[in-house]
Symmetry: C2
Subunit: 428 residues, 2 copies
């Protein structure tokens, strides 16, 4: 007989998180930074405890026949541990944004009104495989003064438990509540359903994983979700683009790494430079084995230029919307910036889109009118990242317009409340 | 046979709104202001068209036996029309926040990263009775560069249709798409269900009305909702409060008007000054017929002081959570600021709470630790309002922590997208 009640267990985690969140919200910066530094130290000192736990997960994954790349993502190598430890120290060194007051102005009534940055409260994070996410999420929770409930992948459960213990010990060492960061210790799938449906305890859910998982969570959640769906990113090469720069950016955006969500999946080229630009980028793509799915105009130019080297195929309608995450790119010749903007706003996933141009007016129009979380001029889409944007950390990338948009750092885990300072004013 | 298909009708409105929103997003400030000024002029010139439409609604409401206050709220008097016309002109005179770029900083890679304020896209607004809300919502949509779909109360349908025509004419006059602001022209209740479930066309829903309506919409909506539930607001009178100031603020917060959501529903008094403060505020409340629902300590003091004048009753547990919107207040004696904060965070609706104090440390703690959308020191809770806060306009008050919190003005109808300016940088 199974005596374990998932619903009761999750309610208990929720209540403990809520209680801890009030203490975290009023913790001072020095205390939070002490916990982060303790966590970095404990990670480096963990030695065999962590290694043994991780070995169990790896053995189970190998026995279950997981693919080599998936087993790789589970590994807590000394390098991975050192990276997350340094991440904790970097967070500790960052300024504390909690309590920041912005825009304080006197109103005609005499009251002074501004906004104070405060933690959201409790966030729930749902993620897969890589156990280092446990530390990234925990450290962001600590720095931002939130409590967190973490639900990692079942394949990493032993590693996550060992990491969560280091987090709890570090919180206690600094005098903060250990329940500020709790790991869901059961791999029962019902726990996810509970976590996303406790508005009394959880203020926001941050899922990281495949599109299917995120869509299901968004549909079923009873609290707001900071979500990241596709990354169908584009580079548009404008009439006046510098050829060398355009080649460098398009090559980097597509081929520097195929799997990230900020890699380019679509290339748009202005008709006036298609005949010069496409043969050159086509040669690069052909050399790297990138399949080119082309509209008729681009296909004609590329086929003539490449003489059968490289893989040039006809694009179908679904190619314009697809996030390949592979050595494939869709290519289309457009009349100019107008058609590029229209195409992107129609097919893009509103993640990241870039223009390469020397034309100031076109650059401005692209920035204003492309309706994406990150819009770029003369830079690779691969820069769409919390660290590259200077946020110091990243808990995810939002493709929503509501609350946080684009890379989400600490500010995305905060809200602004109004503060009013009076000297006895009343309403007349 | 009813040939009218609500679902198709709403999809059409949605598609038209989405199309119009792209044009609104890139409209320049002068054009949007021209539409606002045209709307103000057309409202003042409307004369009998508006009066006749409003008379139809009033006749129907009276015939249906609506209460006098409800019929009153329907009335488009010359004063009401002049007020909304002036509101349009004030919006036209305000700076345009669309396109504002904040925080542009160079990153180690060389790229410059900032955030640009852009419209959300399309908002749906669901409201009751008062037809002037139609103009308030329309003018905020125009100024913020959004498109809007407005669903007013069935009792105001003729007035709303006439007002919506003025809005459409003003948009056309300025060269903007008339579909930027559309009124749902059917009173079929099914239209609301459709409006809140079109994520492809509608980005956010703003309901205004009773708690039941808002809870139902939040539960059923497939898009984010900027919602405002209860206003269970508190004033805490601290040990060191100046007596005169405390009396003035508590009196104003409770009695200046009973119906607004920012009126105080609970009074907390520090034990050390309860014996001096409570008899004085009790006499004021008794004189104004305000019922006092007291904990034992407050009840004893007030009964002794008032000698049977005034209505002093024993509070029950539910009194601490209730939004009376009436001449009733709950009163509790607390030990000091700690107990006040704990009580407020437990029972308050997180709308607006105030402390009256001379103590700097207690003021700071109250501001930091009370988890409400607006927290105040030495000012009446009645100030929690978009105009009093200097937002220039208010589309609602949010009791959520997500996205907009507290009074919501134009910025609450915008989002920030990242803009990246490079000179050919690529990721290494």
């Amino acid at each position: 007989m199974n005596m374990f009640n998932v619903s009761e267990y999750m309610q208990t985690l929720g209540l403990q998180a809520k209680t801890a969140s009030a203490l975290m919200a009023r913790a001072d910066a020095a205390t939070k930074n002490k916990a982060l530094k303790a966590l970095a130290r404990r990670l480096r000192e963990a030695g065999s405890t962590l290694a043994d736990a991780n070995a169990q997960d790896l053995a189970r994954a190998t026995a279950a026949g997981l693919s080599a790349p998936m087993v790789d993502r589970l590994k807590l190598t000394p390098k991975v541990i050192e990276t997350v430890a340094q991440g904790c120290e970097q967070l500790a060194a960052m300024p504390d944004v909690i309590g920041e007051v912005i825009g304080m102005k006197q109103q005609p009534s005499g009251i002074r009104v501004g906004q104070m940055r405060v933690p959201i409260g409790v966030f729930g994070m749902i993620y897969e495989s890589r156990p280092n996410v446990t530390i990234e999420a925990a450290s962001l929770a600590i720095k931002s003064g939130n409590a967190a409930i973490l639900r990692g992948g079942s394949e990493a459960i032993e590693s996550n438990k060992a990491l969560a213990q280091l987090v709890a010990d570090s919180l206690s060492e600094a005098g903060l509540p250990a329940a500020a960061v709790q790991l869901v210790q059961t791999t029962d799938r019902e726990a996810v359903g509970q976590l996303i449906a406790m508005p009394a305890f959880v203020d926001v859910i941050i899922p990281r994983g495949g599109k299917g998982l995120i869509e299901r969570i968004s549909r079923e959640a009873k609290v707001p979700v900071i979500k990241h769906l596709d990354g169908n990113c584009h580079v548009y090469v404008d009439d006046t683009a510098e050829l060398d720069m355009a080649l460098r950016i398009v090559d980097n955006a597509k081929t520097q790494k195929y799997s990230p969500c900020n890699a380019a999946e679509g290339l748009l080229v202005a008709a006036s430079i298609a005949e010069t630009f496409l043969p050159e980028i086509g040669a690069i793509f052909a050399g790297k084995g990138v399949e080119m799915r082309c509209d008729p105009a681009a296909g004609r130019i590329l086929r003539e230029a490449l003489h059968g080297s490289g893989r040039v195929v006809d694009a179908v309608e679904s190619d314009w919307s697809e996030e390949y995450l592979a050595a494939v790119i869709s290519i289309k010749v457009v009349e100019g910036v107008d058609e590029a903007i229209t195409h992107i706003n129609h097919y893009s996933s509103h993640h990241t889109d870039a223009i390469v141009t020397r034309d100031h007016m076109n650059a401005q129009r692209f920035l204003r009118e492309v309706d994406s979380a990150s819009v770029m001029v003369n830079a690779s889409t691969r820069f769409a990242d919390g660290f590259e944007f200077g946020l110091g950390a990243e808990i995810g990338i939002s493709t929503d317009k509501f609350h946080a948009r684009g890379p989400v750092g600490i500010e995305g885990l905060t809200s602004l409340k109004y503060v009013v300072l009076g000297q006895g004013e009343v309403r007349t």
